[in-house]
């Protein structure tokens, strides 16, 4: 049995034992997400499709899976969904501008050795694909943070139905501050874990500091870390505002 099948089986058993039905759904969600990712990648190999449009479509479907499939369709998940998409779009524009300026798209000098056998003139736009990579790295964390804010806000509204919009918003921000540290850490360590080989490489081949900082690989990794950090932070006020607005508006509609 291969390592992946074995690890997958262990994860499935643990998820079902601890999470029951919801656990099984969470496990399946990983595979649905992988399916979406794979499908989008296959479409990206066709230069006729615009990679950014594809990325946005992927983000919408992935957010749907993470929010509506694992949880349910309700006010909580709906506002979290809207906030995730808005954050993604804002972040996407920022990243697109940046990847083009900093020229961090495509493959770095350090990777070319193993790419020797490949034709690199393949006609797809690597600048846009580079931006899409950064967004996709953060999409899981963005939906998670959005959900972690909208859910307790809904609970508070349920217990204090007469609360005004400003107080609700302040509550959302307060929760956001509490989870900001841990969600940022989740991403930082995930990236650190992936970059260990690269760091050892730099140290072993005694790169000087200026060579490291200006190299394409290192700068693109740093920019990925910072941009995903910006993403999980930005989603906090956006979700708080949208949830506060929609909850209060729902109440006003009922009253009217």
């Amino acid at each position: 049995m291969s390592v992946l099948v074995c690890l997958g089986a262990i994860l499935l058993i643990l998820m079902v034992v601890i999470g029951g039905k919801k656990g099984a759904r969470s496990f399946l969600a990983i595979f649905f997400n992988f399916g979406v990712l794979l499908f989008i990648i296959l479409l990206m190999t066709n230069p006729a499709f615009h990679p950014i449009t594809l990325t946005l479509i992927a983000c919408v479907i992935i957010s749907c899976i993470n929010l509506f499939y694992i949880n349910e369709v309700n006010t909580k998940t709906k506002t979290a969904f809207l906030s995730s998409i808005i954050t993604t779009v804002i972040l996407l524009f920022f990243i697109l501008l940046l990847t083009e300026k900093a020229k961090i798209h495509g493959f770095g000098e350090e990777e070319t050795e193993e790419l020797g056998i490949f034709s690199l003139y393949i006609g797809v736009d690597f600048v846009k694909i580079g931006a899409s990579v950064i967004i996709m790295s953060a999409i899981g964390a963005i939906t998670d943070t959005a959900m972690a804010i909208s859910s307790p806000m809904r609970e508070l509204f349920y217990h204090h139905p007469l609360i005004n919009r400003k107080e609700l918003f302040a509550f959302g921000i307060r929760i956001g501050k509490d989870i900001l540290g841990t969600s940022a850490n989740t991403l930082f360590f995930a990236f650190f874990g992936g970059y260990i080989a690269l760091l050892i490489w730099f140290k072993d081949l005694s790169y000087s500091l200026d060579e490291i900082v200006n190299s394409k690989i290192f700068s693109s990794e740093m920019i990925t870390i910072f941009c995903s950090g910006i993403g999980v932070t930005l989603v906090i006020p956006i979700t708080s505002w949208i949830t506060a607005y929609s909850l209060v508006r729902g109440r006003e509609k009922k009253e009217a």
Binding site: M1, S2, V3, L4, C6, L7, I10, L11, I18, G19, G23, F34, L38, I41, M44, T45, N66, I70, F94, A102, F107, E110, T112, I117, L120, Y121, I122, G123, D125, I129, V133, M136, S137, A138, I139, G140, I173, L180, G181, T182, A184, N185, T186, F188, F189, A190, F192, G193, I196, A197, L198, L199, I200, K203, V213, S219, F226, C227, T233, L234
Partner: protein, 379 residues
């Protein structure tokens, strides 16, 4: 406008000082990275003119069409002995930009100066790389401002924790590279404990919630590592394509395991702190709550977070492979081969991390209950 003035009036002297210092740092660092040419030993040139010289279409073996452009570039040297002289460069780039890029006026480039032309007035040479430091500094500031603006004090702590952890990681790797007799796993375990203690104390402060979370994180990470080790050992690593690991100068298995270990740590910490804060929260609201009720609520919370947490790891790991997957597919590699070559390690990492996350739910729950029981017994 009035609200801004009101806010300014409400600010304390300490806050003013803090914001002022931040603004000064921001401006100073941006000015520095834009004019730091003399700090570099490698020659840097700023492009003053760039003209498109030639355009040609190519088609490769796999019927991929692309356009290749040739640029004639004139740039002014910014440092070294030839400072102020003009240098002529050519740049070939493709429309897809997999390994090349278009340059435009104002870009800073690291260049190689052809020594034969040094005596002439017109230098020639070749382009080595782009000067990217200013972009990193710029994004770093946007990151810092977003975190401080939204998170205030907690935002500051996240930044501090990021910096401290990065320094520890770098230091741990230095130790590993300098001493061959200390095992890598030992170094990693020590760093993992340090990472956990520092990050959780910074995020949550000194209290019992944090202590419970620290213990849960350490137990959770080590048990997931143990499971991954056993699985890899029992299957003798079948299906893992270590040969596709990039940047290898050291034993690949160690480096891979260290990556799994540290990569899942953040997510495990997140789960541990969520579990302990919510269980302590329930206990603080009602000191007489039964252990059974605590367990039930704790499990409910755990169910809510495990799906999204595993997905965070999945996307953080797998997304990085997108460009490589596209390159493989466009070069006529079969889908199955492409996936197993590029994703086997990323998938193993995501699955091992997922196991860590799920295991930490009951572990976090029982450590918190243990601490609560101790608290009750003391009374």
């Amino acid at each position: 406008m009035n609200t801004i003035i009101n806010r300014l009036e409400k600010m304390t002297a300490k806050q003013m000082l803090l914001y002022g210092m931040l603004a000064i740092c921001f401006v100073a660092s941006l000015v520095f990275v834009n004019y730091n040419y003399s700090f570099y030993e490698r020659p840097i040139a700023k492009i003053t003119e760039a003209h498109l010289q030639d355009t040609s279409e190519t088609t490769d073996l796999y019927e991929n069409t692309d356009t290749i452009y040739t640029q004639e570039i004139t740039a002014e040297l910014k440092n070294g002995e030839e400072k102020g002289k003009l240098i002529h460069l050519t740049n070939e780039y493709s429309a897809s930009g997999a390994f090349d890029q278009e340059y435009s006026v104002g870009n800073d480039l690291f260049v190689y100066i052809n020594p034969d032309t040094v005596d002439d007035n017109e230098l020639t040479g070749s382009i080595l790389d782009v000067k990217r430091d200013k972009y990193i500094v710029f994004v770093a500031w946007i990151f810092i401002f977003t975190l401080l603006f939204v998170g205030k004090k907690q935002g500051l702590f996240s930044i501090v924790s990021l910096v401290v952890n990065a320094l520890i990681l770098s230091y741990a790797l230095d130790i590993y590279l300098r001493t061959s007799d200390i095992s890598f796993v030992l170094i990693c375990s020590t760093s993992v404990i340090l990472f956990t203690v520092i990050s959780l104390l910074l995020v949550n402060g000194f209290n019992e919630k944090t202590y419970a979370a620290i213990i849960a994180t350490i137990v959770g990470t080590f048990s997931s590592l143990l499971i991954s080790y056993i699985v890899i050992w029992a299957t003798s690593g079948k299906g893992l394509r270590y040969e596709e690991m990039q940047f290898l100068t050291r034993p690949y298995k160690d480096i891979f395991m260290a990556g799994v270990f540290i990569g899942s740590l953040g997510a495990v910490m997140d789960v541990a702190i969520t579990m302990s804060s919510s269980i302590f929260g329930l206990f603080e609201k009602n000191h007489n709550i039964s252990i059974k009720a605590l367990t039930k609520s704790g499990m409910e919370i755990g169910k809510d977070i495990m799906g999204t947490m595993t997905n965070i790891l999945f996307f953080a790991y797998v997304s990085g492979s997108i460009p490589m997957l596209i390159l493989y597919l466009k070069n006529g590699s079969p889908l199955g081969f492409t996936l197993s070559m590029n994703l086997s390690l990323e998938f193993a990492r995501a699955l091992a991390g997922g196991i860590g996350i799920v295991l930490t739910i009951p572990i976090g729950l029982y450590t918190s209950i243990l601490f609560i029981n101790r608290k009750r017994a003391r009374k």
